[in-house]
Amino acid sequence: MVRRAIVDRRKCAYCGACIAVCNLNANELIETFLEINEKCNGCGLCVKTCPMGALSLAEV
């Protein structure tokens, strides 16, 4: 189990704010589809930045 950011696609407005603050290049916005990859270390910076409250940390 590792801690990672997960996205609630019903809330995500695909704005890219989370990409701008990720130090690990662990996320990518493919048009309207946000992908978070295995590089994510669960630092939570993107969670704090998301204007929609669409991100959270979870054990996956």
Partner: protein, 388 residues
């Protein structure tokens, strides 16, 4: 082989592609979205003058014109700017869906190749330039180029891959939410700004009229001090002000409030617009600087091709140009932003009261600061650092 590949067809990228293509360069503009300009991530306000410098005004993408701005302190004290000089230095609210497409078309018309729904994944250095990796509809391939411009906005990966910029910290980015609302009862001659640490920590709320009783109603907050997502602050603002209207569009986004970066170039690569943190640290406005940076990067690209010199030393010419145009303003407004962040709501209220009712005849942050200093000489100590 291309002379130049531009990543991102926002105002910065399209302007860079247009300028360099007009100078005869063989240019490719790539945009990952399938529709340039949508979704909009902007409140669309810009001064007439900064737009005219770079594009011919076309009514098709002007949503409305305003004659001034009204700023509200936390207790509601109103400060009005530019009321007396209607017709002169007034502002536009754009229709960016149309504006961004128009700019991209100008680039295409000037001869640039345009690929949409195409993502730049990265680049590799070769003996005589770069190989840029692209992906479209799941297919990946590479193009060769002498120069690369990263105009890929706030989510810029080119700048980070090239080692030109560092990732933004929580105190260097505004997290924003906005509704396009209709059926509003507002005076459409003004843009409106609302300040307050409770209302919008580290940012402000805005109403920018778009004509026919509609407006962009939005908010930006600084994640380092915000206690909840921007959207929650926006909903609370709308409720508190009692804004009645229907939401017909939803916008989220982020804008760098970093200040001036030391350099926007490295060998073969230049950054412009939000990708180079060119947006204003106080207002979050970035269209004007994106246009200017794109224009100057395009010019330097054509000079570099003419001289066949793509070294960081040569490309520094671009740094000189954008810094001469707006670097000083970014620096000063970053300090101002840090200063404003220290003011609590009672101080904001008393400052606003000290200048309320005075005529501030220029629509700029500087004009307000000058008026504040005139009315509150005790502030001068605090501002010394800024004025130096």
């Amino acid at each position: 082989m291309f002379d130049l590949v531009v990543v991102g067809a926002g105002p910065a990228g399209s302007m860079a592609a247009k300028t360099s293509a007009e100078k005869g360069l063989n240019v490719l503009l790539v945009e990952k979205r399938q529709e340039i300009g949508t979704p909009v991530r902007c409140a669309e306000g810009i001064s007439k003058e900064s737009l005219r410098r770079f594009v011919e005004i076309d009514k098709k993408w002007i949503a409305s014109e305003v004659i001034g701005a009204k700023i509200y302190a936390p207790d509601g004290t109103e400060v009005v700017m530019a009321e007396e000089i209607a017709g002169n230095e007034v502002g536009f609210v754009l229709e960016r869906k149309i504006f961004d497409r128009h700019l991209a078309r100008l680039a295409a018309k000037a001869g640039a190749e345009v690929f949409v729904k195409t993502t730049a994944l990265g680049f590799e250095r070769t003996h005589n330039g770069l190989k840029v990796k692209l992906r479209r509809l799941g297919e990946e391939w590479e193009v060769e180029t002498k120069l690369l411009i990263g105009a890929d906005g706030v989510e810029s990966k080119i700048g980070r891959m090239a080692g030109i910029i560092k990732t933004l910290k929580m105190s260097e980015i505004e997290s924003c939410a906005q509704y396009l609302m209709t059926g509003l009862d507002i005076d459409e001659n003004y843009t409106y700004f609302y300040l307050g640490n409770e209302l919008a920590p580290g940012g402000y709320a805005w109403i920018f009229p778009k004509g026919d009783r509609s407006a962009n109603v939005g908010i930006g907050v600084l994640p380092s001090i915000a206690k909840m997502p921007a959207k929650c602050y926006l909903d609370r603002f709308i409720e508190k002000l009692g804004i009645k209207g229907k939401i017909v569009e939803f916008v989220a986004g982020a804008v760098p409030v970093y200040g001036e970066i030391e350099t926007a170039v490295t060998d073969n690569i230049m950054l412009c617009g939000d990708a180079a943190y060119h947006s204003d640290p106080i207002t979050g406005g970035g269209i004007a600087n994106a246009l200017s940076a794109g224009y100057h990067a395009g010019l330097v690209a054509s000079e570099a091709v003419a001289k066949n010199d793509f070294s960081v030393r040569f490309l520094r010419r671009y740094d000189e140009l954008w810094k001469a145009d707006f670097g000083g303003k970014l620096r000063r407004n970053k300090k101002l932003q840090e200063f404003f962040l220290k003011l609590d709501d009672p101080t904001l209220n008393s400052l606003a009261r000290s200048i309320a009712g005075k005529k501030i005849e220029e629509m700029s942050v500087q004009a307000i600061v000058v008026e504040l200093l005139r009315s509150n000489p005790s502030l001068i100590e605090l501002f010394k650092d800024l004025l130096s």
